[in-house]
């Protein structure tokens, strides 16, 4: 068993999930089963292999540049209301579970 109940509690916290006691037990079982299968990746020597984050690394990039400049082909002018009109305040708030018409409302953040 690699993943313990304690790991599950910690990861759930990172993921903003709580999980019931039954869910936690199931999660320990499932993560161990799945990660056990994933371990077969260790059969491959990847010490000299570059990681691949996305396919388009292979298209249009300027190999001589670093960082975001490699992807200059995909850049555009940053102009307000450039490609699409911003949502109106009403549209932005329409799907909110709770709002006062101006702001999203949430439970209080700081206890006192």
């Amino acid at each position: 068993m690699k993943v313990t109940e304690k790991d599950v509690t910690y990861v759930a916290e990172l993921a903003n999930l709580e999980l019931t006691p039954e869910e936690r037990t199931g999660m320990v079982r499932d993560l161990n089963s799945i990660l056990g299968y994933m371990d077969r990746l260790n059969e491959i020597d990847t010490s000299k292999i570059e990681p691949m984050a996305q396919v388009l690394d292979r298209y249009g990039v300027d190999e001589s540049k670093q960082g975001s400049e490699r992807f200059a082909y995909a850049s555009r002018e940053d102009v307000p209301e450039g490609l699409r009109k911003s949502l109106t305040q009403k549209e932005a708030l329409d799907n909110a579970p709770d709002s006062d018409g101006t702001f999203f409302l949430v439970p209080k953040v700081i206890e006192r």
């Binding site: 993943v3 993921a15 691949m52 439970p107």
Partner: protein
Amino acid sequence: MHSTSLTIDAARFAVQERKTTALALLEAHYERIQKEDGQIGAFLTLCKDRALEQADRIDRMAAEGKPLPPLGGVPVGIKDVMVTRGVRTTAGSKILDRYIPPYDCTAVARMEAAGAVVLGKMNCDEFAMGSSNENSAFHPVRNPRDLNRVPGGSSGGSAAAVAADMAVVTLGSDTGGSIRQPASFCGVVGLMPTYGRVSRYGLIAFASSLDHIGPLTKTVKDAAIVLRTIAGRDPMDSTSADVPVPDYVGELDKPVRGLKLGVAREYFGEGLDDEVRHAVESAIDKFKSLGCEIVPVSLPHTPYAIPTYYLIATAEASSNLARYDGVRYSYRAPGVKTLSEMYRRSRDEGFGAEVKRRIMLGTYALSAGYYDAYYLKAQKVRTLLTRDFDEAFCKVDAIVTPTSPTAAFRLGEKSNDPLAMYLADIYTVTADLAGIPGISIPCGQTKEKLPIGLQVLGKHFDESTILRVAHAYEQAA
């Protein structure tokens, strides 16, 4: 004329020539949905007002004798992971069950600009996570060919609707096989284009480096027509490629004689059902008789595709799904007292079991101490899987494989074993990881009359060749 068993061209010609109207077509489809969908469950939401408005626009064009656009009057369905302005979009999740998007997905907007009439939104696995459509928060979809079987997933509703003549065409999304596998299970055509070929703007994100939009159709030609409509650069998606869109339909009838088709033994190993193997081998013989050269190729890292895929996809998903916080547009648990309690309880109650499992797996793979061992390792193996295809495509024009190791399985058969469910994607995930296009077309059926799918994989941005190969098989079969 049977108005619910039409292809795109047949429907458009009939409306153009005033043999029927877009309105009559849409009404015939809604009647069919009314009659059939109670037992299948392919639709989550119907958008009749929007459909009527569009049908009226098309009928006025036809009445004025104007030439109709390529999808003029064609009734279509949209997988519920693509946002539609003013029409509820759920991603198959309770956490979005009341979400009314304020904008349209680019692919949907392009379909409508080309004259398509959107009937409604298609059921799917929650956030497109699943291979059987049993993970929908609303209800499962049943396979129209056998109601005790799953339609595949995650675009199960999209595939079932086309198979049951409830839509001429649907759009689905494919992150690990979610267009091709359900197409195979339901006996329809499913095309996953090259990564970046179709804009993802307005596609609710599951795994951003793997998500693709594509069509499910009755014929290969229809898939070509839809791809031509939705493909091409979109300034709203910086990963949409600025690569010219060819005339896919015009290239369909080019001869396939002399094309080199690769066959990789890694796709015919343990776990492949005998009936599926025989059907695919007969298809390969058919290609020989059409003058194609069959060339053995090796894709040696294939056994590592599933672990690689499920690490990368879940890592990206854990990040993408962090946005569902109960503040701006998603479900909020009632009676919560503090902000952190609101986040946790809203997500606990809003997400289903498989989505939580994947968020946990992805968060674990990205967490301190495990990032190198899991996520980074998987990204490196992704490079190797992609190189396998690069090398194979130096020798061949396309690769033919089974789409899925088995025909459609029974509801409940794999739902308690997540790993067994993941292995249902064994022949499809590699194309998503490499970003290459793939199409599934029907190639016969099992003794129990369940459809079998043949997959054709191609080079980046070479959808023309796989469509041509698939079309040649479809015409010859």
